[in-house]
Amino acid sequence: MKARRVKAIAKKELIQVWRDPRSLMIALLMPLMQMTLLGYGVSLDIKHIPVCAFDREASERSESLLKRFQASIYFRVVESSRSYGALTDALDYGRCKMGVVIPPDFSERLANLGTAPVQVVLDATDDNTANIGLGYAQEVVDGFSSDVQVVAAQRQGAVAQNEPVSLQSRVWFNEDLNSRNFVIPGVVAMVLALVGAQLTSLTISREWERGTMEVLISTPVTRFELMVGKILPYFAIGMLDAALCLTLAVFWFEVPFRGALATLFFTTSLFLVVVLSVGYFISVAIRSQIGASQIALLVTMMPTVLLSGFTFPIDQMPWPIQAVTYLVHSRYYVTILKAIFLKGAGLIELGMPILLLALYAMAVAFLAARAFRKTLD
């Protein structure tokens, strides 16, 4: 491999990117836009679930229960209905996700029997929200019940009993249980995967389309020189993008950063080599710019969103799907980024994913270089 030839290609490529507004947009504006859109758009937190209350008793007791729902950050009582029909409507039309029905003999039953049912109706089209809503509703009702017990016990002159077992929880790594801290590193991985593959997906197909490839392959340049020369300038641009995204993550979205910059730099470089090689590979295989760019979008976007652990935890997937995730390059980087950001993990803790990512990088780069043939056949 001759450095001079690599340099000539890299320099030419850089000039071309600089003079092509479309490439510049992809290179610098796209990551910014995606970071902001996805950073705000993708939130797994469920707060302020809109609730419709159907209070059939309308007593002091029943209202105090509803006030507890209102006071919780997880619920917002937005409607009160006077009939089951109105409650059904609120759910049907999507104005509310949950309905709370308090029976007409609520206070009476509490006083006489010591127990009273409260009905909760949930819109489970989004099962995740429904599940979480149910959990929070249980919490609100439990809180209310234990207060009722305490008051009842005091009335009878007894000392309130402690609960036999009490849970003392401490949440590690993401203390505020803020899903943004979990999501943003994934967004960074996704943006880099997308932009990286887009950048290099055009580089070979452009030469075919413009007719410059024929003379280029008649020169002594080797396919490895061509690949390295083509990828180098995009590596520099990719690092710039990475710096941009990570800065946004830390200073704008305020994701705690607990790891070492060197670890971040090293793993990000490795990931960039993978995504740029994937784009290059696609560019070699598909000789039209539009086609290559579409395929690059398809093969990076879908697997990264669904199978990288960015939105859905991998260990909850059935095993055949889990097996497939090992083929998704962003899976390794998402794991690494989350660990560096939230756990402050270093190279040793991340040994396995780094090793796998390095193997991945070598395999893709090797295949990409080999896929290019210096012939017109």
Partner: protein, 321 residues
């Protein structure tokens, strides 16, 4: 191996070269050789296989059968060595339009390993040669056809290759620019550069030391322009000057003694065996049919006559019927 090949005088040698694309045979059993400093022209209609042949010699296409040697090296076996010794101008314009003149030149300099002082000199030389002095920083996209072609030649010879392949280098270039382009080719050949050039312009073919006529992938004739004009046609040519060639052409195709008739500008060229006897016979034939002509006389064949006779095409730019 001939003595010429042994001392490296033969720079391009092909031996029964064949290229098939599926059922279509683009190059069919072509053997020829080109000496050092020679300008070899390949003349033929579009689709005759000229570009396919050049691409095989540059190592861009693999021959289906046969062998090709360039600069003494087997192209199929060692394309890398061949590539370092050749310059190639493809039929389609292939420089980077979004780069400036000097950026293109420096790029090819870098690719071919031309560096330092020599690179500066060669870039200056190429700019001078292409007539682009003062436009070194202009984007290639903004240059006109003739300039682009001369710059492409400049890029192809930047590393001073001993062998040059030019695939229809002057297509779409005005006559003055074409003339200038050929002056450059001559000066390169004088320095000992071996040049293989394809064209479908007759006048350009005349500039070559040797011409190979190629049609439907086959080598039809080969020789210097004067050899071809003198010996390739069996028979003699008559010129028929007239005002309206159409009816005359139709009539003369069946006239006695006329082996072939072809339009040539506003007049006709006839192929006959014995001009002395045939001229009066043809004049009688025309008079009997009431057709008007100005003059019938024997002429020396041009390259176009040779082409028409051997290839059967009306004009090399058109496909054979």
């Amino acid at each position: 191996m001939s003595p010429e090949a042994a001392n490296g005088e033969l720079r391009i040698v092909t031996d029964r070269l064949v290229k098939r694309f599926g059922a279509f045979t683009a190059v069919d059993d072509v053997s020829f050789s080109v000496r050092r400093g020679e300008i070899m022209g390949f003349l033929g209609p579009n689709g005759a296989g000229k570009s396919t042949l050049i691409r095989m010699l540059c190592g861009l296409l693999r021959p289906t059968a046969g062998r090709a040697e360039v600069a003494g090296v087997d192209v199929a076996r060692n394309p890398a060595t061949v590539r370092a010794n050749i310059g190639y101008m493809s039929q389609k314009f292939s420089l980077y339009s979004d780069l400036s003149v000097v950026e293109n030149l420096r790029f090819f300099g870098g690719i071919y390993g031309v560096k330092g002082q020599r690179l500066t000199q060669r870039v200056e030389f190429a700019i001078e040669m292409a007539g682009l002095a003062g436009r070194a920083d202009a984007l290639v996209a903004n240059l006109s056809g003739g300039w682009k072609q001369r710059l492409a030649l400049g890029c192809a010879v930047l590393h001073q290759p001993p062998i040059l392949f030019l695939d229809e280098p002057t297509t779409g270039v005005d006559p003055t620019s074409r003339r200038r382009f050929w002056d450059l080719i001559y000066s390169l050949a004088e320095e000992g550069v071996t040049i293989l050039v394809t064209t479908h312009y007759m006048d350009e073919a005349e500039y070559c030391n040797r011409i190979a006529l190629i049609n439907q992938g086959r080598l039809v004739a080969m020789g210097s322009p004067s050899e071809l004009k003198g010996g390739a046609i069996q028979g003699r040519l008559l010129l028929v000057e007239c005002d309206d060639a159409g009816p005359l052409l139709e009539a003369l195709e069946t006239a006695p003694g006329v082996r072939d008739a072809a339009p040539f500008g506003s007049s006709l060229h006839l192929l006959v065996d014995d001009p002395a006897a045939d001229v009066p016979r043809i004049e009688q034939f025309l008079a009997a049919r009431g057709l008007a002509w100005r003059r019938v006389e024997p002429i020396k064949p041009t390259l176009e006559d040779v082409f028409v006779q051997l290839v059967g095409a009306r004009r090399p730019g058109e496909a054979t019927p």
